[in-house]
Symmetry: C2
Subunit: 333 residues, 2 copies
């Protein structure tokens, strides 16, 4: 087995975020479940946008945010995801390649537009997302480049890929290629509602060994095991996953590998929480960077916590400082 | 004369900002004069974008930023400017109307794309701008709606309007209508390089009484009077302008009305300067809000300083908090 070219290959929905501040009442008026991600169609996207406050646009997508974080840490990453050849598709491609991530997937030249995620950030920093999947629905097995998958130490997949119909097959194909090449497969559970939609399939991926590394937050993991008690869920995942990295908000994270459990406190914040979007994605970025570079579970979780802390102190789901420099200043790399 | 419907009508370039962090060396490599605004063509826009780091997109445009600030303060505003009916044009229209500003100008249905301003923010918070004017070049006298101009206490024009060829005539027509209706006309000098391009014309606008209120920063005013000494420039503008509001960076602002001069210190910052984009635009927003609401020169300048302080503490040129609430907390309105 040759040394991998990439620390991580991410496969996910290629989305541009449209981010606006919002009062709690607006979520209620619009029937939005605070903190969740809901799928919307084009008509609903237009109607919601018309009612939203002034916004900014920033490239997003869960796995893509993780890769941007990995690139910012100095890691080598590639992304597979589907945009259309339109303005927002060009924005997405610019932003991910500008941070040093390879993005080999060709844009769709016709059909529906590049995906948008309308993110409403309430005064407490919580984000509520409404996603129009658009061109992401065109991602298929044909977009899984075998050589790229073989060349990545970890192939990282977002649970949201279960939403667009053909992407699930792309996900499975990528996992097979990765394992055939002796590489690892990671999955992020993405969202508690996403887990509720695909619980049985996600559990099977773990139990069948399709997934080696699981990323989840408290809500997602308790949803997966249908319990209100995070400790019960952590005990359950210890049996099902080879390695699980579970974020616990202000309590930090718990890393579970078989019978071993490491609890890592959250990184200190310098300012207030502004926008929680991307917290989990950036935790995964730091953790995967550490994991791919053999830094050990504790240090990897600390890097994850540091990257997550940076991203929640500003609007937008990708780092605004060079994480490599920040991690160096903190003595983590 | 009936009470005006609008505190301010702004006429300016309708631009979406593409904002990226940049090191000083990149500006040197690209031949960009730090702190300036340069006009670029489409080919240069594509080449520069390809070299820039990951960016975010946010509605901008100098006068439009001022109106967004005015709307955030609870003022009544309208905007005249030209976008194309494309994705970024829809973004611009959404953002300005969502903050409560009327935007009656129809989008161009063909021709070149909505304008973009590539903004490179260096670690010191200074911004360097490269503007592709795009659809702004289609703004013409036909876009000046007479009723809207008559309905505004102040018609506010950005100096950048001297760049697109037909906009200058639109500017003059608007000023004539405003004065014919007993309203006031304000001009922002926009940028020291813009002043260098149109110095004689800008001076004539003041001396001929086409402009009642002048907004400038130190670099622009000293460029206008071709002096290195701000005090010399302030004495000169006292003779030429009925009212001048001059921002002096960390030193605050000087308001000049005939023989009267009021110096107002800068508002206190709660955090570091992150991005100076929009500082002058937001000063004008606060000042014009105070002026249109009869709050007096000192209070108006304090409101301007407060609005400017908010916008320089985050990325992007429009307020991220409700300025009305902020100003209320500070006891200014």
């Amino acid at each position: 087995m040759t040394a991998p070219k990439y620390d991580v290959l991410g496969i996910g929905n290629a989305i541009v975020d449209v981010i606006a501040k919002s009062e709690e009442a607006f979520l209620v008026d619009e029937g939005l479940a605070k903190g969740s991600m809901a799928l919307i169609d084009e008509a609903r996207a237009e109607a919601l946008y018309a009612k939203m406050g002034p916004a900014i646009e920033a490239s997003g997508g869960s796995a893509a945010n993780t890769l941007a974080g990995l690139g910012s840490l100095g890691g080598k990453a590639a992304f597979i995801g589907k945009v259309k050849a339109d303005t927002l598709g060009e924005v997405f491609r610019h932003d991910i390649t500008a941070i040093g991530v390879d993005f080999p997937t060709p844009a769709a030249t016709d059909g529906i537009a590049t995906a948008r995620c309308f993110i409403l950030v309430t005064p407490d920093g919580e984000r509520t997302m409404s996603t129009y999947l658009g061109a992401c629905q065109g991602l298929s097995v044909d977009d899984i480049d075998e050589a790229t998958v073989k060349d990545a130490a970890v192939t990282y997949l977002e649970g949201y890929l279960w939403d667009p119909p053909a992407a699930k097959e792309a996900f499975r194909k990528a996992a097979e290629i990765a394992h055939g090449a002796g590489r690892q497969v990671a999955l992020s559970l993405s969202d508690a509602f996403c887990v509720a939609r695909y619980r049985a399939e996600f559990l099977a991926l773990l139990k069948d060994g399709v997934v080696d590394i699981l990323f989840a937050n408290e809500g997602e993991l308790t949803s997966l095991y249908e319990t209100d008690d995070i400790e019960t869920a952590l005990k359950a995942v210890a049996k099902d996953a080879k390695l699980a990295a579970v974020t616990l908000g202000a309590k930090g994270s718990a890393i579970i590998e078989g019978s071993e459990r490491i609890d890592v406190p959250a990184a200190a914040l310098e300012g207030p929480i502004v926008d929680l979007t991307g917290a989990g994605d950036l935790f995964a970025a730091g953790f995967l960077y550490g994991h791919a570079n053999g830094l050990g579970l504790k240090r990897s979780a600390e890097l994850g916590g540091l990257a997550a802390a940076e991203v929640i102190q500003h609007v937008g789901a990708r780092p605004q400082v060079e994480l490599k420099k920040l991690a160096g200043e903190k003595g983590l790399i």
